[in-house]
Structures are given as structure tokens and as C-alpha cells.
């Protein structure tokens, strides 16, 4: 009886065949799930969570990104230039970047104030989500293969104007 106290002999039942099978199967499923994520490093090294990051003060990063935004306003960003994007309550600087397709870019992203999030949402079904943290810059290596517009959206609640935080990546 699950609701009343019982003696050991009463509840200490051997497993049935089905129960044994399922016990083993449940662990096998967990092992398959876990092995896949580990194996994925070998299967596809180019669809991975970015690993590069560095500590930097929010004000310092803000300066870097603002300088970058002024330099490349409405310009196509050349291949060997690192991209900087800073998140503020409630906007991104730069609010638009133009990238070339098929080129590997390094996008540095960090926050000037509170926690934010980066969603890249494209018409081609692209959805990527990362965190943007004050004091820590994320370096994202990314290659867009198709030309088009990708929307950037903040995905971490950051205050009353959170939903206004959008930006654009144009791939040409």
C-alpha cells in the first residue's frame, strides 16, 4: 500500500521481466543522449556553442563597439575585420551590420549594463540564441551562406523596454 506503512517483506518485491528490461533500457537511452552530444564535437565541429570569451569592463567594451559602429555605418564589413556589438537597455550598437556571405566573421558581443540575450532569427529558419553578459565578451564565429536579412532580438528580459531591443544583420 503506497499510503500506509508496510513491512519489508511486503514491499521488497523482485523486479518483473518488464521492469528489468525498462531499467536497462532507460539507462541506455540516457547514454545514447549523452553520447550524442559528446560525439557531436567530432561529427560537426562547425555547429557548436562558441567557446571563445574574455573578461572586459562594460564601459571599455561599449567604447570599442561604438567606435566600430561609427567606422562601419552602412558599409560592408571587410573579411578580416572583427565585428563588435554592444547591448544596452534597450538598443544594440550598431543597430545594423552588413556582412558578406560565405565569409567567416568573428562577432564580439557583450553588454554595457544588465544581462541581455542575442537571438539571430532568419527567414531561412535560422535561430540561434546566446547570452550577453556584462563584464564578459562572447566571440562568435559565424558564416552566413545565404544573402538576406537576419533579425536580432534580445532574448533575456532586461527591463520595461526589453521587446524594443532589435537589430539587423544584412548578408550580401
Amino acid at each position: 500500500m503506497t499510503l500506509f506503512p508496510r513491512s519489508l517483506e511486503e514491499w521488497y518485491k523482485p523486479f518483473t521481466k518488464e521492469e528489468k528490461t525498462w531499467f536497462i533500457l532507460a539507462f541506455i537511452v540516457a547514454i545514447i543522449l549523452a553520447a550524442t552530444t559528446v560525439g557531436w564535437f567530432l561529427i560537426d565541429p562547425y555547429h557548436q556553442v562558441p567557446i571563445e570569451s574574455y573578461a572586459i569592463s562594460p564601459s571599455m567594451f561599449d567604447k570599442l563597439a561604438t567606435t566600430f559602429a561609427n567606422l562601419y555605418k552602412d558599409k560592408i564589413i571587410p573579411e578580416d575585420v572583427d565585428v563588435y556589438i554592444v547591448a544596452h537597455q534597450f538598443y544594440f550598437t550598431p543597430s545594423k551590420i552588413i556582412l558578406k556571405k560565405g565569409v567567416t566573421y568573428r562577432i564580439h558581443i557583450s553588454s554595457a549594463d544588465v544581462l541581455h540575450g542575442l537571438s539571430i532569427i532568419g527567414k531561412d529558419g535560422t535561430v540561434y540564441n546566446l547570452m550577453i553578459m556584462p563584464g564578459m565578451a562572447y566571440v562568435i564565429h559565424i558564416i552566413f551562406d545565404k544573402a538576406g536579412i537576419y533579425d536580432i532580438h534580445c532574448n533575456e528580459y532586461c527591463g520595461s523596454g526589453h521587446h524594443l531591443m532589435t537589430a539587423t544583420i544584412e548578408v550580401v
Binding site: 500500500m1 503506497t2 499510503l3 500506509f4 506503512p5 508496510r6 513491512s7 519489508l8 511486503e10 514491499w11 521488497y12 518485491k13 523486479f15 518488464e18 521492469e19 528490461t21 525498462w22 531499467f23 532507460a26 537511452v29 540516457a30 545514447i32 543522449l33 549523452a34 550524442t36 552530444t37 557531436w40 560537426d44 565541429p45 562547425y46 555547429h47 557548436q48 556553442v49 562558441p50 567557446i51 544588465v114 544581462l115 532569427i121 529558419g125 535561430v127 540561434y128 540564441n129 546566446l130 547570452m131 553578459m133 563584464g135 564578459m136 565578451a137 564565429h141 559565424i142 558564416i143 551562406d145 545565404k146 534580445c154 532574448n155 532586461c158 527591463g159 520595461s160 526589453h162 521587446h163
Partner: protein, 557 residues
């Protein structure tokens, strides 16, 4: 003769300590009040995230976060935790014929929780603390808010300690013989995990308190996020474990104790114990796409660790479904799946348990890709996540708690349930509502719609989020109607319903006994087939599809 201060339950014959019972009722009622507040907020968040409300003014661009904040706190923290405190008192006192270790400590815990609850809800309602339940620094609320959070947590911690002392005292005073009932044992595991929660919680909240009171603490978000999720993640396993314990109570109550005999308790107890092993390693799945944490750490803690957390829940699925099958086979329905038709589907406990299991199971399926390092890139902070937890903690835990309420309230008040028919209808409506709501959230998440975000019309249309958002609204309305039925049924039972004069009157409409013909027939093959289809084939399919999708997106590393 019963001792003074006790009454004998007419339905179960258990000794009920009256002062402990009062505490249980008060904690339960605070849970109901929180559910009402959270439910009112659910109307606004539900309609705002739907797309069929055509007036932009009704879609609450400026107050969305206000309602979301109120909803999150009152539902996830207050409704669930008040109920759980009532639950651990119930299983430690009434099921063991024992009084609570200390009634005073019980009231102390209640008052601390009440003060914390009042502070937080006053701050929430006046709009001074819209930080959402995660309260990530450096966003901050006035220090008193964190103090309220802490008092609430402290109150819960005292309740947990009181629970353990109650078990200890009942044991040494010989209030019961043999081993703890399975339900009490499961709740005990929940309480142990509760201690992990409190340990992390106190740390995270004091940190946030110091930060918000400007003592010069710089406030490291990474650090805070780790400890917050030490609280937040582990707390979800308190909810899971408590829910599973409730399932075992429901299967016994609904069948008049018949089906409980066919549960393999040893299997269930091993599964319960496994939760404690795997909880802490899972904390990392909340920081999978944060900068700064090392990949090996994320992988080991977040993904690999978390997958093993589903093993105990998978085992419980077979233990319970197998228990139902074995009972029905023993009553003469011996074909592989024929017993499914013979399940007492109209019984509020059995339907509550099985529908809660289904929703929780689907939640477990959507959990797998989201807890995995690489596919987390697709789902992190999208509507996939609220989709997942509206399946687990709403469809799973809340539905199980609602279903159990239909039994606990009559047993405690000795009053007949207002309407057992409406109870069953309510359970089905909630199942349908949450199923639609949560799967449309999941769909929105697949399309990249961010969570905790007001979405304008232009965006709904631009990103093809319009259609799933229609379903979201429909699901929300059904679930809200169901919630109103639940609250009315419970409140009217307490206020209006008459005292029952006999056990049969008290339990009318609540029990569906099953007649056992041949115990030897009790096989569990059908249940095994079902769990293999749902939790192996479909689960792995959803998981691999996420990887395949990732493969087709722009390269990222």
C-alpha cells in the same frame, strides 16, 4: 476512543491530529490564494501572447512584464511551495497517525512564509520589483524585496526541518510499524532536495540583497546565475519528486487502495533515491550558452548530467502505468492494450494521475534537446522553454496537485466534495488547455520566438508566429476556465458543502474500486510497449531532429 487532540478519519481509519490538520489547511489555502493571483495574471499574459486579441491596447505592451512577474512568482514559487508544505505535513502526520513534531515551529514557518509572501506580493502588485522570478542582477529590486524572498525561503526551510523531526519522532514513539509509506518516502526525497534548494537559495538571495543595498559589492552575474539555478533547478526536482509521490497517492486513492498492491514499491523507491544523485549535476543546463563557463564543464554538468536525470522519471512511468495495467489484467482484461479501455477514466484521481503523466512525459521529451549543449543554441530563452515547463510543472505537477486536492479537502474537512463530476471535467479541460497552450509555445519556440517578450503584430506576422499564437490563446482560455472550475469547486466545498455522515457519503464519486479475479495475471507488457514508444522512439526522434536541424543552419562555433 481517540486520544484528546485527535479525531479518527471516517474514511481511512487514520488518526488525525487536529492542530496539525489546521496547519495543513492554512498552508493549502495560501496555495489556493496564490493560484488565484497567478491565474488572474495568466489571463493577461496568455492573451497578450496570443494573436487573436485584435486591439493593440488589449495586448498590454506596457504592462506585460508586470503581469508576467506576478504570474511567475505566484504560480511557480507560491502556489507550488505552499501546496508542497501542506503536502509534506500531510504525509508525515496523518499517514503516520502522528502529530507534527512542533506545532509552534509549524506556525513560525507559516508566519515567515506569510510575511515574505506579503512583502513580495505588495512589491509586485505596486510594480516595484519587476525583475521576474529569476531576479538576475544587475537588474535589481529594492533590498526589502530580497528580504521577503529570503523570509519565504527560510519559512520553507523550517517546514522541511519540522517534517524530518516529525518522521523521527513518529518512528521512535512507535506511531507506526514497518517502513515509511511510499508516498511519505517520496515526499522525504523531495524534502532532501529541498535542502539543496535552500542552501543555494540563501546564498544567491543574500548576494542579490547585498548587491541591491549598494554596499559596494560589484555583483558578478555569472556567479549569481550559478547559485540562482542551484536554487531554481533543484526546486524543479522538488516539484517533480513531490508530483511523483502524489501520483502514487492518487493511484491508491482512486481505486480504493486496490491498484496500490500492484505497484512494485522497491522499483519506485530506487527510482526516488536516484533523483538525489542526479540533481546537482543538472544545474549546468541553465548556463549552456553563457560566455565564460568552460565547454567541458557545460557539457559534463549541463548535458551529460541532465540526461541521467530523466532515468528515474522514466522508471516511475513504468512503475505506475504497469501498476494500472497489472491491476486491470488481474481483474480480467488480459490483452496487450485492452486494459486501456477499462481504466476508470472518469475517476478524478486516476484521470488526474494519467493525464498529468502524459503531459509530464511530453515535457520530458521536449526537455532532451533543450538540455543538450549544441541544440540549446536553438531553444535557449525561446518559447520552447515555457512550453517545456508548462508541460512539466503545470500539466504535470499542478494537475497532480489539483487532482489530489479533490481528495485531501474532503478528508480534512469531512465535507463532501461539491461536485465530483465537475472535478473530472475540470481535469480534462486542464489537460486539453495546457496541452494546446504548451505545444503552441513549443511550436513558437521552434520558430525562434523569444520568451518573456512582448511581441508586436508586425513581428508576429513577419516571423510566421501568428498561427501558433492563435492556438496559444485558445489553450490559455481553456486552461483558465478549468482553473476557475477548480477554485470554485474547492472553495464551495469548504464554505458551502455539508458535513458527510458516513465514509460512503464522503467518498461518493471519488473511488472506483476494481475487482480482482486472478492476481497471477498481473503482467506489465502493455505498459512497457507504451513507454518504449513514447519515451524511447519519440524521445530519440525529437532529439535527433534537433541535431539535424542544427546541421542545416549557418556555421557557428
Amino acid at each position: 476512543m481517540t486520544e484528546t487532540g485527535f479525531r479518527r478519519c471516517m474514511a481511512t481509519g487514520l488518526l488525525v491530529h487536529l492542530a496539525s490538520q489546521r496547519l495543513i489547511v492554512f498552508n493549502f489555502l495560501m496555495g489556493i490564494i496564490s493560484l488565484i493571483i497567478g491565474g488572474i495574471a495568466a489571463i493577461f499574459v496568455g492573451l497578450t501572447r496570443s494573436s487573436f486579441v485584435l486591439l493593440e491596447q488589449l495586448r498590454l505592451e506596457h504592462t506585460y512584464y508586470y503581469w508576467l512577474n506576478l504570474h511567475g512568482f505566484n504560480m511557480l514559487i507560491f502556489w507550488i511551495l505552499w501546496f508542497e508544505v501542506a503536502l509534506i505535513y500531510f504525509v508525515a502526520t496523518i499517514l503516520l497517525n502522528a502529530p507534527l513534531y512542533s506545532i509552534r515551529l509549524g506556525w513560525l514557518s507559516f508566519i515567515l512564509m506569510l510575511i515574505g509572501w506579503l512583502i513580495m506580493n505588495v512589491m509586485n502588485i505596486t510594480g516595484n520589483s519587476i525583475v521576474l522570478f529569476t531576479a538576475y542582477i544587475p537588474l535589481s529590486a529594492p533590498p526589502i524585496f530580497y528580504l521577503g524572498y529570503l523570509l519565504f525561503a527560510l519559512g520553507v526551510a523550517i517546514a522541511v526541518v519540522n517534517f524530518f523531526l516529525t518522521l523521527y519522532k513518529a518512528r521512535i514513539e512507535g506511531k507506526y510499524t514497518g517502513h515509511l509509506p511510499l508516498v511519505t518516502w517520496g515526499a522525504g526525497i523531495a524534502a532532501i532536495i529541498g535542502l539543496v534548494v535552500v542552501a543555494h537559495g540563501v546564498f544567491a538571495l543574500i548576494y542579490a540583497l547585498l548587491f541591491s543595498s549598494n554596499y559596494g559589492l560589484k555583483g558578478d552575474v555569472m556567479f549569481y546565475r550559478w547559485f540562482f539555478w542551484g536554487l531554481g533547478h533543484s526546486a524543479q526536482y522538488v516539484n517533480v519528486t513531490a508530483m511523483v509521490a502524489v501520483w502514487y497517492a492518487l493511484i491508491a486513492l482512486g481505486t480504493g487502495f486496490v491498484a496500490a498492491k500492484f505497484i512494485n514499491e522497491r522499483y519506485a523507491r530506487i527510482a526516488f533515491a536516484m533523483y538525489t544523485l542526479f540533481v546537482v549535476p543538472g544545474i549546468g543546463h541553465h548556463i549552456l550558452v553563457d560566455p565564460g563557463f568552460s565547454t567541458i564543464f557545460k557539457q559534463a554538468s549541463g548535458s551529460v548530467g541532465s540526461h541521467f536525470l530523466s532515468v528515474p522519471s522514466m522508471l516511475h512511468a513504468l512503475a505506475l502505468l504497469g501498476g494500472v495495467e497489472a491491476t486491470l489484467r488481474a481483474s480480467g482484461h488480459t490483452s496487450l492494450l485492452g486494459w486501456l479501455k477499462k481504466i476508470p477514466w472518469r475517476n478524478p484521481a486516476i484521470s488526474g494521475m494519467l493525464l498529468s503523466m502524459i503531459l509530464f512525459g511530453i515535457g520530458g521529451i521536449t526537455a532532451q534537446p533543450q538540455t543538450t549543449l549544441q541544440p540549446n543554441l536553438l531553444f535557449h530563452n525561446t518559447m520552447w522553454v515555457p512550453g517545456h515547463f508548462h508541460l512539466t510543472v503545470v500539466g504535470g505537477t499542478s494537475l497532480a496537485f489539483m487532482s489530489l486536492s479533490y481528495y485531501i479537502v474532503p478528508l480534512l474537512t469531512e465535507k463532501k466534495l461539491m461536485s465530483s463530476k465537475i472535478a473530472t471535467i475540470q481535469i480534462y479541460l486542464f489537460f486539453i488547455g495546457i496541452f494546446i497552450l504548451a505545444l503552441s509555445m513549443t511550436w513558437l519556440g521552434w520558430l525562434g520566438s523569444p520568451r518573456r517578450t512582448f511581441i508586436s503584430y508586425e513581428e508576429l506576422i513577419e516571423h510566421n508566429w501568428f498561427t501558433p499564437a492563435i492556438f496559444l490563446g485558445i489553450g490559455a482560455l481553456i486552461a483558465i476556465i478549468s482553473g476557475i472550475l477548480f477554485i470554485l469547486n474547492i472553495i464551495l466545498t469548504i464554505l458551502v458543502s455539508k458535513k458527510a455522515s458516513s465514509a460512503t457519503e464522503l467518498l461518493k464519486g471519488l473511488i472506483s474500486p476494481i475487482e480482482i479475479k486472478d492476481e497471477k495475471e498481473s503482467k506489465k507488457t502493455g505498459a512497457l510497449v507504451i513507454v518504449i514508444i513514447l519515451l524511447v522512439i519519440i524521445m530519440l526522434a525529437v532529439y535527433f531532429v534537433s541535431f539535424i536541424r542544427l546541421e542545416g543552419l549557418p556555421k557557428i562555433w
